[in-house]
């Protein structure tokens, strides 16, 4: 028996409606928010492409990890999980497109480092290493490499992992899984630095890559649960039962707690040490109306799973687990908005280093050149002190904090952010969900749903917890 999914026209129609709503959202964002080279429009595309691509590659990671770890129970739902990588063929090129459009100053997402790269003569000392890392060719090439590798492995894994029948194919699948895990671990960390952390190039956090990984995990496992339950409701996957959903629920619970753990580690350590270079990231977000969405995302992504799906019964109840999954998918979208939206959408009436967000990079450079004269005194003093006098560290720290504080007020009183979470975000998110699901069902319909020849098929069939 080779059961296959039929991608019928009714479902397609519904998904096209979702995509239509997304298109309306994009048009609205473009028209209503022309500020900063339509940054609201571009940041939404970045958030959604990044989030859904992450979900896709996490699906591949999840099946690969089970292949290496002898996870036999997954066989019945493996096709569902790995088919989520269908979106990678849309998302990865979109990320690459965002990178390429940076060249023509079409959007301003990366302006903060871009103008520095283009005009090294105006380079503050603390940005010298960034000039190497964000060399535009090198940066774009890296993103192209991730995109190509992800698409390549999505092809290989979706094709190969459904056809494991004997000792030989089993061994090869393990080899592929091992290679993918290494590729995933490296590319996932790098892409989070390249595309998200770099939006504010002054701020850095060593666990940022792992934090993004946990977010993908929560989104991907939620989608896996919802899609499996949906397919069951349509009469597919008859052998999948509450035990499989339970296991996915356990992983969802685990990843939600893991995400919170990383959130807390990052926040607490920066709050506790109270170094201005670190805390400005939080001040900007918590001080500009983002605190609501920060707490909303914590409530949905931590408190909700903690209270609701810790119980065995809740993970085995399709309605409860579906509700939690939907909420978590939304919760992590909000969290990515928190990470991305602030910087590119802020319009500052202040001056100096942080003043250029509002402008495209040419204008920014011009303004920067003018303003560096004005701010050069304190800034230059700080930087020279830093290089010349290693001995004078405490004083340098003080000078640096004074410098940051002096500029900090721009974000508070005079900066106006056009970032927010409103109708356009919701519509664009719905649209991307439509594309994601379309690519998923399209991928799903190409292969049999379950490989009954798999050596672990019977284990998965009799899975009981």
């Amino acid at each position: 028996m080779t059961e296959k999914f039929q991608f019928d026209s009714k479902l397609k129609k519904n998904l096209f409606i979702a995509m239509g709503l997304g298109l309306v959202g994009l048009v609205l964002a473009f028209v209503l928010y022309p500020h900063n080279s339509h940054s609201r429009f571009w940041t939404n595309i970045l958030v959604n492409s990044y989030y859904f691509t992450g979900i896709g590659i996490f699906g591949l990671f999840f099946v690969a990890a089970h292949q290496l770890g002898y996870g036999g129970w997954i066989v019945l739902v493996r096709r569902v999980i790995m088919s989520m990588s269908g979106f990678v063929f849309v998302g990865a090129p979109l990320l690459l497109l965002i990178a390429l459009l940076t060249w023509g100053n079409v959007h301003n997402i990366y302006d903060h480092w871009l103008h520095v790269i283009k005009h090294p003569e105006s380079l503050p000392e603390s940005m010298t290493t960034k000039a190497v890392f964000f060399n535009l060719t090198f940066w774009t090439a890296r993103i192209a490499v991730y995109a190509i590798l992800w698409m390549l492995f999505a092809r290989i894994i979706t094709k190969y992992f459904g056809n494991i029948t004997d000792k030989r194919s089993y061994k090869i699948s393990k080899l592929i899984a091992a290679m993918w895990i290494v590729v995933f671990a490296v590319s996932e960390s790098f892409v989070s630095w390249d595309m998200i952390m770099s939006i504010d190039p002054h701020w850095y956090s060593t666990l940022f890559g792992w934090y993004n990984f946990a977010s993908y995990g929560c989104g991907a496992l939620s989608f896996a649960i919802l899609l499996t339950i949906y397919l069951k409701s349509k009469g597919y996957l008859a052998q999948v039962n509450e035990n499989h959903i339970h296991d996915l629920g356990v992983f969802l619970f685990g990843f939600s707690i893991f995400w919170t753990y990383l959130w807390f580690s990052q926040y607490m350590l920066q709050w506790y040490a109270n170094i201005p270079e670190d805390t400005m990231y939080w001040v900007k977000r918590a001080g500009t109306g983002f605190h609501t969405s920060m707490f909303v995302s914590l409530a949905i992504n931590f408190v909700l799973p903690l209270l609701v799906i810790i119980k065995r019964g809740a993970k085995r109840n399709f309605k409860t687990i579906s509700f939690v999954s939907v909420m978590i998918i939304i919760g992590h979208h909000i969290d990515f908005c928190n990470m991305v939206m602030y910087e590119p959408n802020v319009i500052s009436t202040g001056h100096g280093e942080h003043g250029h967000h509002a402008l495209n990079s040419n204008e920014a450079t011009a303004l920067y050149a003018e303003n560096t004269e004005a701010v050069k005194e304190p800034a230059a003093a700080t930087e020279h002190a830093a290089t010349d006098a290693v001995t004078a560290k405490p004083e340098v720290k003080a000078a640096e904090s004074a410098h940051v504080e002096a500029h900090g007020h721009e974000h508070g009183s005079t900066a106006k952010s056009y970032a927010g979470f409103g109708l356009v975000e919701i519509l664009i998110f719905i649209g991307f969900t439509g594309v994601f699901l379309y690519m998923f069902f399209n991928e799903l319909s190409k292969h049999p749903l379950v490989n009954e020849q798999d050596p672990y098929f019977k284990e998965s069939q009799r899975h009981h917890i």
Binding site: T129, K130, V182, V186, Y261, L269, Q270, V390, Y456
Partner: protein, 484 residues
């Protein structure tokens, strides 16, 4: 009814084990009769080392912390390094008991008991160091927050060091409960076999009068699950808080957000390495090759290559971010770590933790016991140096170059560290002599699904050409048996 298991899974109980009785016999035997000569030799050496350990503790308490090699910038060195190292080792036990239980990994049954015991002993060794480094050990009870007459002398709840006190004491308590509750049915088994009355009496008390009724088993299983649920967050919290000791500061090289998850990964890494070191010795000493199979070793080696690589990614991330940050002091701290006066410590750390474990990508290496033994010791060394590198190199060059110093340990430093290892081994040898080192009841629970013999019987029923990964080999066991 037993669960189904795929033919592609290798057996977890060796081919010579045929029955439940045999399992009981072979696993209880080390606690009965006179231990082998090798045990006595090891025990005497370790016992003497423990005495020297106590001597060094006494020396420190009598003459003070000044007998250590601390200097004006390195005011925290081997004491905290040893502490973190031991706490890290103490992680694998509860990880194997709790997390592998939740992940339903059957290979845990062969190694969980010894790993849990190791946890308890390692935490005991770890606890010595913070208590000792307070300087005035007779005031150590100040760490407990209770209403007192000392006026403003009250614990500092803002300090991660105090959080450590809570985290570690909770961890120790739960690990002890977990370990002990698992031992109860096995103590009863020993009691039921013993001939001497005294022995019967002692093991009966130790087993809390366990009878093995259905009700007792039911409650036993609920207790295991509750404790597993409690222990899992504890495994994470303990080393997270240990990492906070450093990461909440503003010292370049310490203040980095990746510390919590990376310390946890490192702890699991070193814990598994120590389990391997011990299990390879125990396996040989008590002839337990059928219960701690090459398959177990291979699974542990996989965890080692995984956690070793996670640690490797963390090292590289730290280096990268230090460079990326553009922050001069951060850059200096890491440059100094890798190429400064402690370059040799950094080189040992990198090669033992990141480079050599990569050999485990190859199946042949994972299944080679000698290589495994050597590499497990490398990991133990590497993980000690990791803590040394983090702690000492970050402190040695402080903000005032005129005070920069180089740390050299004194004989007291070395004596306490080496002595703590002897204490650990002494406790472990005593444990191996009086307690069942392998969880008898748990091994029995997988006998019908995962033993070589059960697999062979199933393969025979299905016809030997069932296409199983090890199918033909399994039936081979039965044939050989028939000939004998």
């Amino acid at each position: 009814m037993h669960a189904y298991e795929s033919d592609y899974r290798e057996p977890l109980i060796g081919p010579s084990v045929k029955s439940y009785t045999q399992i009981t016999d072979e696993l209880v035997r080390p606690t009965e009769g006179v231990p082998p000569l090798s045990w006595w030799i090891l025990f005497s050496i370790m016992g003497m080392g423990t005495l020297f350990f106590l001597f060094c503790l006494g020396w420190t308490i009598w003459f003070g912390i000044g007998t250590w090699g601390l200097n004006k910038t390195v005011n925290w060195a081997w004491d905290i390094t040893n502490f973190v190292w031991w706490i890290g080792i103490g992680h694998a036990g509860t990880l194997i008991s709790a997390i592998l239980l939740l992940f339903r990994q059957r290979f845990r049954t062969g190694i969980n008991r010894a790993a849990e015991a190791m946890t308890i002993f390692a935490v005991i060794c770890a606890g010595v160091f913070p208590l000792l480094h307070t300087g005035r050990q007779w005031l150590d009870f100040f760490i407990f927050p209770y209403p007192n007459t000392r006026g403003p002398l009250w614990v500092n709840f803002n300090s991660p060091l105090l959080w450590d006190v809570f985290a570690i004491s909770t961890y120790f308590t739960v690990s002890l409960l977990f370990w002990y509750s698992g031992l109860m049915p096995d103590f009863a088994t020993i009691r039921d076999r013993s001939k001497s009355k005294t022995r019967k009496f002692i093991y009966n008390i130790a087993s809390f009068g366990w009878q093995g009724t259905a009700k007792q088993w039911q409650r036993f299983e609920s207790l295991s699950l509750v404790l597993a649920g409690l222990a899992t967050p504890l495994v994470l919290s303990v080393h997270t808080i240990v990492s906070f000791d450093f990461a909440t500061s503003v010292i370049p090289g310490w203040h980095t957000t990746i510390f919590p998850p990376y310390f946890v990964a490192g702890a699991i890494f070193s814990g598994f390495a120590m389990v391997e070191t011990l299990m390879l010795i125990v396996r040989k000493l008590f002839k337990l090759e059928d219960y701690i199979t090459v398959n177990h070793i291979e699974s542990m080696n996989k965890i080692i290559v995984l956690t070793g690589s996670i640690v490797g990614i963390a090292y590289i991330t730290e280096l990268f971010i230090a460079w990326y940050s553009g922050y001069l002091y951060e850059q200096h701290a890491f440059y100094n770590r890798a190429l400064g006066k402690y370059w040799w410590a950094y080189a040992i750390m990198m090669s033992c933790n990141v480079i050599t474990p990569q050999a485990y990508w190859f199946k042949k290496v994972r299944r080679n016991l000698l290589v495994t033994f050597v590499l497990s010791i490398f990991v133990n060394i590497g993980m000690w140096f990791e803590r040394f590198v983090i702690i000492v190199t970050s402190l040695a060059d402080d903000f005032l170059p005129s005070s920069w110093a180089y740390f050299s340990p004194t004989w007291v430093d070395i004596g306490i560290y080496v002595g703590s290892m002897c204490l650990f081994m002494t406790l472990f040898l005593l444990f191996a002599r009086t307690f069942p080192v392998i969880a008898i009841a748990e091994v029995k629970s997988i006998f019908r699904t995962s033993s070589a013999v059960a697999k062979a019987e199933r393969a025979k029923e299905a016809g030997s050409s069932s296409g199983g990964y090890v199918g033909s080999y399994q039936v081979g066991i039965l044939d050989k048996d028939a000939k004998n």
